[in-house]
């Protein structure tokens, strides 16, 4: 009997948890659907909520290779898709020159030698001189792969257009070689921090997953999985404190990654419970703007009190 979708989604949640990635049902159903429908997922959310980590974990879970493409302004197809190995091609023409004598030996006239040259196999533009970059690698992989296109909002609009063919058809057209189709469709994750609006064309080809800041319960679970040596008491206080912080009006709200860093810091400092002084001293792990730190300094007593209750 085949398992129902709900069961499979639960399996994914559990499987991810084994790799220390605690996810909500939403996230695991997105992964399930992406895998079933063979569609890319566009993951959005504030920085530090585990967008990139999701792809890493998916690669571990599905036991596939992870290919990562970090996007930046000016990224083009020679770095993302493929490039010719110019050096090797040059060497090849050198070798060709030497061999040419033999091939053309005894040819009479220009036409005859040209005919012979045509018979000669042309491998100048062939796969042996093709240097595959992450996108092409993901398509040609024999085992299937997980492709992570990180921070796609940082790339130019032109690059986005390049992605369209790959994401909807899972193929690329190389002018010299023709269309290359994926043997096994890769599982694709795109992440975005929303520094720029992604084009509708790209959005419509993807499943759209928004990962928000976790609620207290989920965050406690995550801390437990990532920093297992933390005491229960401290972990509860810590999460309550961070949840309180997120309700303030700050420039950059602390995300899960900051909470994890903070938990590790407190462990290093051998803290058993959260006190006002301790919180004040270690605020800079959580907050990345001086302005925010100043705002929060005043609120620390209240937040620590609230975290206790």
């Amino acid at each position: 009997m085949t398992k129902g979708p709900a069961k499979k989604i639960e399996d994914i949640t559990k499987g991810f948890a084994k790799h220390n990635y605690i996810c909500s049902e939403q996230i695991s159903s997105a992964v399930y659907l992406a895998n079933e429908l063979e569609k890319p997922i566009l993951v959005e959310g504030p920085p530090g909520v585990g967008k990139t980590e999701l792809a890493n974990t998916a690669a571990l879970y599905f036991k596939k290779d992870l290919l990562r493409l970090q996007c930046y302004e000016g990224l083009d197809e020679t770095k993302a898709l493929y490039e010719w190995r110019y050096g090797k091609q040059l060497l090849y023409t050198q070798i060709l020159k030497e061999q040419m004598q033999e091939v053309l030996k005894g040819a009479k006239g220009l036409k005859d030698s040209l005919d012979r040259l045509m018979e000669f196999e042309d491998i100048f533009f062939s796969e042996s001189f093709l240097e595959a970059r992450p996108l092409l690698k993901a398509l040609t992989s024999n085992k299937g792969s997980v492709l992570l296109i990180d921070e796609v909002d940082k790339s130019d609009e032109e690059f986005e257009a390049l992605l369209l063919e790959i994401l909807s058809e899972f193929q690329v057209s190389i002018p010299e070689l023709g269309v290359k189709k994926a043997k096994i469709k890769p599982l694709v994750f795109l992440t975005s921090n929303n520094s720029r609006e992604i084009s509708d064309a790209l959005k419509r080809r993807c499943l759209h997953l928004y990962i928000p800041f976790p609620d207290a319960k989920l965050e406690r679970k995550i801390i437990r999985a990532r920093v297992p040596e933390i005491s229960k008491n401290l972990q509860v206080q810590l999460v309550n404190f961070v949840q309180g912080l997120r309700s303030l009006d700050l420039k950059k709200l602390p995300a899960i990654s900051e909470t994890i860093d903070w938990a590790k810091t407190l462990i290093l400092l051998n803290a058993k419970e959260l006190s006002e002084d301790l919180a004040k001293e270690t605020l800079n792990v959580l907050l990345k703007h001086q302005q925010d730190i100043e705002v929060v300094q005043k609120e620390v007593p209240r937040l620590v009190m609230a975290a206790d209750g």
Partner: protein, 445 residues
């Protein structure tokens, strides 16, 4: 089943969520995989395919709750048939027969037929729901049923309603509920659920001075949306200008692989200057409301503008740039209005203040926008001050919130000042404001 999905998509579109046909197909594939059984799962998975921004997701959640609440009620009704009542022989009206027979599918069918007659597709606003429910009930013949009920009531001697009457009354209440459910669902499908598009339209074409304070928050988000649209347009235009001079260094480096034969040329991108904008706003009583929207708009454009300085004046002038940058926009506007507003307008004094504050900042990249009605309370105009602003900057725009027919009447000296402006616009509504700023971005860089 597909019908349910397309109806749902229609509801979403009504709520201003953009759903393309391809996305609908995706959603159909999703439903094939998971089915309609698990509500939570259905909601989760549909939310991956249909809404594609955070705002759309929030709207999607509420639409989903509304839509899939009505649906199952109906489906249950379809299969629920009880034994026909023995009493149906004792009544006259058709509706009463139907109700007593208790055939849910038939009743549902006659509701939809009546609704068709009542032209339910025309429903637009939620206030119309009661009207349409009543109309449908009338068409179904509730009138004669009610008559019969009152007749039955009169027949009773011992003051207690008979079994028949009781049963009919219960059925009628159920019918009313069912009809109102039906109308609610149809309203979701055909009406503009949140009235959002309508409201936006009204706000855009309404005189900014007339917009009620209680709507400020909504207008603010509308302004931000408009500004975002403009800045997207503008930043795309910028890209087209991107070819510049030949970049020798890059070209040589990139062509190393071609044995230094310059094969691929590389261009250094020409940097497009972002415009520098100085805004001078009259915040006296008559124009204060306009200044609010103007400043909102300008400060939502920070992405495509390199530098903004804002000044407000009524009888004297002061700079408010820092307040706008550091604090919340709404608060900043309030404080600016209360600090500088309220005095009687003195353009001459304010222009001289302006020049002493930022004469050095005026250069050939600067656009100066003046918002005011040019009503100087019959004081001296000192137009030469504006002239020196005009000569030093790239362009001076004057936005006058008053209608053109009122310019130069009474104490308005628009003519005197317009001589030293690149362009003068009438700018009373958000739509007009949007148009002006579009022009400005096009010409300012």
């Amino acid at each position: 089943m597909d019908r349910v999905l397309t109806d749902f998509v229609k509801t979403l579109r009504n709520a201003n969520i953009q759903v393309s046909p391809a996305e609908t197909l995706d959603a159909m594939e999703v439903i094939e995989k998971i089915g309609y059984d698990n509500r939570e799962l259905l909601k989760n998975t549909l939310s991956f395919t249909l809404p594609k921004t955070l705002e759309e997701k929030e709207k999607f959640d509420s639409c989903f709750e509304d839509f899939f609440n009505v649906q199952p009620l109906q489906k249950k009704g379809l299969f629920q048939t009880r034994e026909p009542s023995q009493l149906s022989g004792q009544v006259n009206s058709d509706l009463a027969h139907q109700l007593l027979e208790d055939n849910q599918a038939d009743i549902q069918l006659s509701i939809s037929k009546a609704a068709e007659k009542a032209e339910i597709r025309e429903i637009k606003y939620f206030t119309q729901r009661a009207v349409f429910s009543r109309r449908i009930l009338d068409i179904m013949g509730v009138g004669s049923l009610e008559e019969e009920l009152s007749h039955l009531g009169q027949l009773n001697e011992n003051e207690l309603p008979s079994d028949l009457e009781q049963q009919l009354r219960n059925q009628l209440t159920q019918l009313r509920e069912r009809v109102s459910d039906y109308v609610q669902q149809q309203f979701l499908l055909h009406g503009d659920v949140s009235g959002e598009r309508l409201r936006e339209q009204v706000f855009k074409s309404m005189n900014m001075g007339q917009i009620d304070r209680s709507y400020l928050h909504e207008v603010h988000s509308l302004v931000r949306k408009m500004a975002k649209k403009l800045s997207n347009l503008h930043s795309r235009r910028k890209k087209n200008f991107r070819r510049g001079k030949l970049d020798i260094r890059k070209t040589i480096r990139d062509n190393w692989v071609n044995e230094s034969i310059l094969f691929n040329l590389r261009w250094s991108y020409k940097k497009i200057d972002k415009p520098k904008i100085l805004v001078i706003c009259d915040v006296s009583g008559s124009v204060g409301a306009y200044a609010r929207f103007m400043l909102m708009f300008i400060f939502s454009l920070t992405e495509v503008v390199s530098k903004i300085r804002a000044f407000v004046f009524s009888s004297y002038l002061g700079e408010v740039t820092d307040e706008f940058k550091s604090s919340q926009l709404e608060e900043a506007i309030e404080s600016a209005l209360s600090k500088y507003g309220g005095g009687s307008t003195d353009y001459a004094h304010s222009f001289s203040d302006f020049l002493s504050l930022c004469l050095d900042d005026l250069d050939k990249k600067t656009t100066v926008i003046i918002l005011g009605d040019a009503r100087n309370n019959f004081g001296p105009d000192k137009a030469f001050l504006l002239k020196s602003v005009y000569e030093r900057s790239k362009q001076v725009y004057w936005l006058n919130p008053e209608g053109k027919f009122r310019w130069n009447t009474g104490d308005s000296i628009m003519n005197t000042y317009s001589a030293y402006c690149t362009k003068v616009f009438e700018c009373g509504t958000l739509e007009q404001l949007e148009r002006v700023i579009y022009k400005l971005l096009k010409t300012a860089a």
